[in-house]
């Protein structure tokens, strides 16, 4: 018997223990019996153990190239070794669901055990355990019935179909697990929110104690989305990184609502407001995460990504409906306990800036949902099949995005509760001047696109506002502790990691927006070149010098030498390739990019004729470099936030008051 044979029995056992955990935890919560909840926790841990066994079993089958399993034969091949053989674990539909369940059960056990160790109220933890066990049970049912990763083949093929060469890229190793980590991570705050509602413990404990999970999930999702864009940019050869494809949208929607949630919980923490709203936001976020998981596997949408049009959709819809109806029902049932303890004092207050942030993020999420589902709705009503394209999304997202960016600059300048217009006018002056100067400077160097001018102006405004915050923070530490500027800056960052780490994340977003705005100036040229011929693009001259061919066991390589010069001066030589992958019988272009902060020169060879003539498609993408730089800055900011000791439940208000000398003095 092989290790893989353990897979299916392990999944069945996991389902039994998950159902057991759900029943025990609910009983423990209702009857206030800690012994039942303890048993539920143990049962959940055993569930996780069995899911780990199943995942190990599938991994073993993949590494052993056991093609008697349909899954292994479909997503792996003998030539596939090392990390990419492992990537097949989440490379197919069934495996990706198993991976989802694996993350879910592991996260659930860690979260429940930690919550108990940190003294979370018993009924909240018990209900959260029950919710998590029910979600795990649903996914386990999928894995046992319609999406069984351990289906055997009657005839064993000699080799598997392998993994598409396009997917054999380092970004593809990390991108899917990061997205799943993000999606699954939101289960934890969702479950504890439901736990708090069901047990009527409606203080802030549920979100303060799951904050680390929320931030972790959000960070993973953010980086996962950027990596997906980076993969598309460096592998697909159309010169772009985001196409508003339904699958991209599926990951973007929960990101938008989660971002709204991360901001609005701050209001609840500081001002005891938005309580209903926060519970709703985490419910929406998790529903969208599950919806995204479902959308990408249902076949209900036509996407450039293809999916198994399997029976999964029929299973997901009732689950999603149950989650939404149940969630909304619980919120309504507990509405009386969710009243805000405070009201808005003034329109000019940080509360209203946060409110505006939420409205804009929700508008953005609704737009994506509308654009993604419109084809389905239109077909149902008129019978006509339509698709919604990038012009729609761009038209909505440019104004929404710029407004949000401006808000990231305005927000930090306004105090809590209320502020006089005069004080606000004084503090906003500097950033406004920075914005206007930038716009004038951009006009002077010849930028004429209104959208790009606004984008650059707003980015400068926001950067100036954030830099101002750091300067003011450091000045306080400098005076009080007699430090020089450097250590004072570090002190500012480490004393209130959440606030200043958040600003660093905002700076990263500003850089990304600068990069996105650069796409307004993209140039594209294509030409069919014989050896020795040249083409011009945006001031560059590209000369096709030479073609070198070679063979490896996997592919025939056709490598071009393209000399790049500018104003007669040699800049670099790029080597885009056009390769034929033998196993897949597929041509694939390897893109060559010369990336600088000013612009990317991006060259793709789309065909190579037998006589050596090459069809060359070239792009000059200004400022794209800043997108990846911005993502790195965002990651650093997230690191700062996550590295700090987050306020322990119940201590939140006192701690933040001490740690915020700057806000207090204003």
């Amino acid at each position: 018997m092989t290790l893989a044979a353990l897979g299916r029995p392990a999944l069945i056992a996991a389902l039994i223990f998950a159902l057991g955990a759900a029943v025990l935890a609910a009983a423990g919560a209702i009857r206030s019996r800690r012994d039942l909840t303890d048993a539920a926790t143990r049962s959940l841990a055993i569930t996780a153990g069995f899911v780990v066994t199943a995942a190990v079993a599938l991994t073993a089958a993949l590494l052993a190239h056991d093609f008697s399993y349909s899954y292994v034969a479909s997503y792996s091949s003998r030539s596939l070794t090392g990390p990419y053989a492992l990537a097949a674990l989440w490379g197919g539909m069934e495996g990706s669901l198993l991976f989802w369940t694996l993350l879910l059960t592991l996260f659930a056990v860690v979260a429940v055990v930690r919550a108990r160790a940190k003294g979370m109220a018993h009924p909240v933890t018990a209900w959260a355990t029950a919710v998590l066990a029910v979600i795990a049970a649903f996914f386990l049912i999928l894995l046992i019935a319609p999406a069984n990763p351990f289906t055997k083949l009657l005839t064993v093929p000699a080799d598997g179909r392998g993994l598409n060469p396009l997917l054999q890229s380092p970004a593809m190793l990390i991108h899917p697990p990061l997205l799943y980590t993000g999606f699954v991570g939101f289960s934890i705050p969702f479950a504890f929110a439901m736990g708090a509602l069901l047990s009527r413990r409606l203080d802030d404990t549920w979100f303060t104690s799951t904050r680390r999970w929320t931030l972790f999930a959000w960070s993973a999702l953010s980086i996962g989305i950027v990596l997906g864009g980076a993969w598309a940019y460096t592998e697909l050869g159309w010169g772009g990184y985001w196409a508003w494809d339904p699958v991209e949208n599926a990951s973007f929607m929960p990101w938008l609502t989660a971002t709204a949630y991360l901001h609005s919980v701050v209001i609840q923490e500081k001002r005891r407001m938005f309580k209903v709203w926060n519970v709703c936001l985490i419910l929406i976020t998790y529903a969208l995460a599950v919806f995204g998981t479902f959308l990408t596997r249902s076949g209900i949408l036509s996407s450039i990504h293809t999916f198994t049009e399997g029976p999964i959709g029929r299973w997901f819809l009732p689950f999603l409906a149950l989650m939404l109806i149940g969630g909304v029902g619980i919120v309504l049932w507990r509405l009386d306990g969710l009243r805000s303890t405070n009201r808005f004092d003034s329109l000019l207050s940080r509360e209203s800036a946060f409110l505006a942030n939420n409205v804009l993020f929700l508008a953005a999420a609704s737009t994506v949902l509308w654009g993604t589902l419109y084809p389905v709705v239109a077909e149902a009503f008129s019978g006509a099949r339509l698709s919604v394209g990038p012009p729609f999304f761009d038209a909505v997202f440019i104004p929404l995005g710029l407004a949000l960016m401006a808000l990231a600059g305005i927000g930090p300048l306004i105090g809590w509760r209320s502020m006089s217009t005069k004080a606000f006018g004084r503090i906003i002056q500097g950033p406004l001047v920075a914005g206007v100067v930038t716009i004038v400077a951009c006009v002077a160097i010849g930028v004429r696109s209104v959208g790009a001018l606004l984008a650059f102006g707003i980015c400068a405004f926001t950067v100036a506002s954030i830099v101002g915050e750091f300067v003011r923070g450091s000045r306080v530490h400098r005076k009080r502790e007699a430090l020089s500027w450097g250590p004072a800056l570090v002190r500012t960052l480490t004393r209130n990691r959440r606030r200043y780490g958040g600003y660093v994340v905002h700076l990263g977003v500003v850089l990304i927006v600068i990069g996105l705005a650069g796409s307004a100036f993209r140039t594209e040229r294509q030409a069919s070149l014989d050896e020795g011929q040249s083409m011009d693009i945006a001031g560059y001259q590209l000369v096709y010098r030479d073609l070198e061919t070679s063979n490896t066991p996997e592919k025939q390589v056709f490598q071009t030498d393209i000399d790049v010069s500018r104003d007669g001066e040699h800049v670099t030589t790029l080597h885009p390739q056009r390769n034929f992958h033998v196993a897949q019988q597929q041509w694939q272009s390897e893109i060559a990019i010369r990336s600088t902060p000013i612009e990317d020169l991006y060259i793709v060879v789309t065909t190579i004729d037998p006589d050596g003539a090459a069809s060359v498609r070239a792009f000059v993408n200004p400022l794209t470099w800043w997108i990846w730089a911005g993502a790195v800055v965002m990651l650093l900011g997230m690191g700062v936030i996550l590295s700090g000791r987050l306020p322990v439940a119940g201590m939140a208000s006192t701690r933040t008051r001490v740690a915020e000398p700057v806000a207090a003095t204003r």
Partner: protein
């Protein structure tokens, strides 16, 4: 309200929405109007791909109807015989002229390669 207005405006912009058709539907529909964008979805008939400089011609089929497609745009790597493709452009009653050809992503979630 503001969002509804913004959405409405965005939806009516040219290129925002496109009709999505199979070869059979497109043939029944006939020539397309200039200014409207159409997306034609089908599979590439084996052996029909011809490359001539930057121009690619091929035949898209849904098993019932075949439609000739011509494009000056580069085709993606996953574009090959039997690939599931979406061509965006217009149809004059005989040939579909595409400004963009997309082949469905070799996604991880695909059961049959």
């Amino acid at each position: 309200m503001g969002l509804a207005a913004l959405l409405f405006w965005a939806m009516t912009r040219p290129g925002s929405t496109a009709f999505y058709m199979t070869p059979t539907e497109l043939q029944a529909h006939g020539p397309t109007t200039a200014g409207e964008t159409y997306r034609l979805n089908g599979t590439v008939v084996p052996g029909s791909i011809e490359q001539n400089g930057l121009t690619t011609t091929f035949v898209v089929s849904d098993g019932e109807t075949d439609i000739d497609v011509t494009t000056d745009s580069p085709v993606p790597d996953t574009f090959k015989d039997r690939a599931d493709v979406v061509a965006r452009g217009g149809y004059d009653g005989a040939t579909f002229t595409a400004v963009e050809v997309l082949a469905k992503c070799p996604s991880k979630f695909k059961a049959k390669a």
